[in-house]
Symmetry: C2
DNA sequence: TTGTAGGCGTTATCAT
DNA sequence: ATGATAACGCCTACAA
């Protein structure tokens, strides 16, 4: 493996000049630069990232702590984060937290075993009372709920607005018996609570009452099976339904399944809308209308923000900049499970 | 940040002794070890992984090149790999290849930008003619098809055997009109060809003919929607069907959907079996019987093998050990979409 | 059983 | 505009 010394020797310059060329130092004669580049090319030289890290104190890697990549939403989020990181020229170390408090605490305590410059953290099990744990001594950006410390950077989605827009879409089509799938009995300030607030607001804005008979409970997780069960429970109770707002796409798919098995036509008899816009939503029959919460934007902004924080840490000393709260744009993706616009 | 020098000073020993304690060197007096450990604890000292890497020439990280984490199979595979890596005390750098040849070539060419010790590679777009590209100068273990060089380590699944067992299960229940979903016109030596071979073998073993009218084509990808379309094409042609073997779970779900929408009962009228055992398969209605190809085992064995290769590289010089081919155990997971055993 | 010296490949400092 | 030299923090010889 060739080193900078070899390149310098071949180009007839000092190692420092090679380093300067590599790092875009401006004051270099063109002829010198050319000779160095030629030598690099000839030797097939590549910088030793490890040595650079040791010297600079940065690894060029960031961590991503998410519950589980097998869950399509998080798998797709990870894909988006990886794409954004490639853009910023950083590598990503993924740390699955398994939906557990211990997993999340471990990720916060020793992220990447000391070889990352900062952490993107998507909490799923921590409670509001754990907020103090987020005051760590490395750059940290939170993805998802804004239920934590106002002193920590957040990049998240418009949960309430999204659910309100989803409900409005069905209301606009004249639906008045709109089931809401994904309710949790033990809801704190998480997505469930925020999305329910949007559902309620949409109804109340039109002077309509919220009917608990239309609540579909999914305390065991927002899985497809629980969506089907929740839908079944509502239908079994003989409740009249002409629309469904589900808190995520998996629940929506389960509900669609149950409706179709019972002979309800979608969207003619019942219109259905989900949340998240996962890839699978394109491939249901009919395809699923859903809320795109701006996952790509979240990924891009979060990675950029984290990289900025990493850079800032080198500059300023001790003076923490104001925490940022970024809410991504959301939009409705209309597909076959809701009626075509008039 | 405390360094080894600080620890040594506080403990009243040399840095070498601290290093020895950290690396489990046996000949250390207990009292010395205790003093060192106490100093480490007091200073909250953590080894600088970067410096260690520079010195040792290893980073303690491996790469994982997969098409896309958003696809549940790969997301779950990544979870399993990450778990196995944690067991081996290595970190994983994920490199999405996006189902493209360029992406896979890039991953092979400069994996992890020089900061990984070895690569796990799950090819999806490379052709058999690209086999020579796999002869790289770093440890490489292939996941998936064994369609490549016999000089490269492979850890993969029993594709043919799995599909044969799946077909046998339906045959055992007396099904004789078994559709096969996921056929590709342009099949090389990939999963589609191997799994079709299993389907065919099962029929031929019982002296049954293969009927092309039962072929469900999915040239546009093994997505749920294409499973539904393939099923619809068969049913629209008026072909009699009492069983379905799908080449993956997504296709199976699409086929189930289409069958149920048309009023066929599962498993009474049509029995359905998938392949991969993704998490979602538990949550369909009815739950999906499928082939568990041994994904966890594949992940564990592949990570262990790669770590061994990394270690070996330090020992032997130039002498490549014989390439390993490991086929994971597969098994059928019986659920509601096939009839209960008599 | 413990200590000393030196180097892994790069970048920062300070000259020139 | 370029060069010499000293770190960065750890580990391996070798010495004691």
């Amino acid at each position: 493996m060739a080193t900078m010394v070899d390149v310098a020797a071949l180009a007839g310059v000092s190692v420092k000049t090679v380093s300067n060329v590599l790092n875009g130092y401006p004051y270099i004669r063109d002829t010198t630069r050319d000779r160095v580049l030629a030598a690099i090319d000839e030797l097939g030289y590549q910088v030793n990232v490890t040595a650079r890290s040791l010297r600079s104190g940065r690894t060029g890697m960031i961590g991503l702590a998410v519950p589980e990549l097998g869950q399509p939403y998080f798998g797709e989020l990870a894909d988006d984060i990886l794409a954004a990181a490639r853009e910023q020229d950083v590598q990503v170390l993924i740390e699955p937290t398994g939906f557990t408090r211990e997993g999340e605490l471990a990720a916060l305590r020793e992220p990447g075993r000391g070889l990352i410059d900062g952490l993107l953290f998507s909490p799923a099990a921590l409670e509001q009372t754990d907020a103090s744990l987020l005051e760590v001594d490395y750059p940290l950006v939170l993805l998802g709920e804004q239920m934590f410390s106002p002193r920590v950077d957040h990049v998240t989605m418009r949960n309430t607005e999204g659910a309100r827009a989803a409900t409005d879409l069905l209301l606009d089509h004249g639906r008045r018996r709109i089931a809401v799938i994904g309710m949790l009995h033990a809801q704190g300030a998480g997505s469930a609570a925020l999305r329910y607030a949007g559902y309620r607001q949409a109804l109340e804005n039109r002077g309509l009452a919220v009917d608990p008979a239309l609540f579909g409970w999914a305390d065991d997780g927002w899985h497809r099976g629980n969506g089907a069960l929740a839908m079944a429970a509502i239908l079994d109770a003989g409740v009249d339904v002409d629309g469904v707002v589900a808190f995520n796409d998996a629940l929506a798919m389960g509900a669609m399944f149950e409706l179709q098995v019972r002979g309800r036509r979608i969207p003619e008899d019942v219109a259905v809308i989900g949340f998240d816009d996962i890839e699978d939503a394109r491939y249901t029959v009919p395809s699923l209308t859903t809320v795109d919460p701006g996952r790509r934007e979240i990924a891009r902004v979060a990675v950029e923000l984290l990289c900025r924080r990493v850079r800032e840490r080198g500059d300023r000393d001790g003076v923490r900049p104001e925490a940022v709260l970024h809410l991504a744009d959301m939009r409705i993706v209309e597909r076959g499970s809701t009626p075509a616009r008039a």
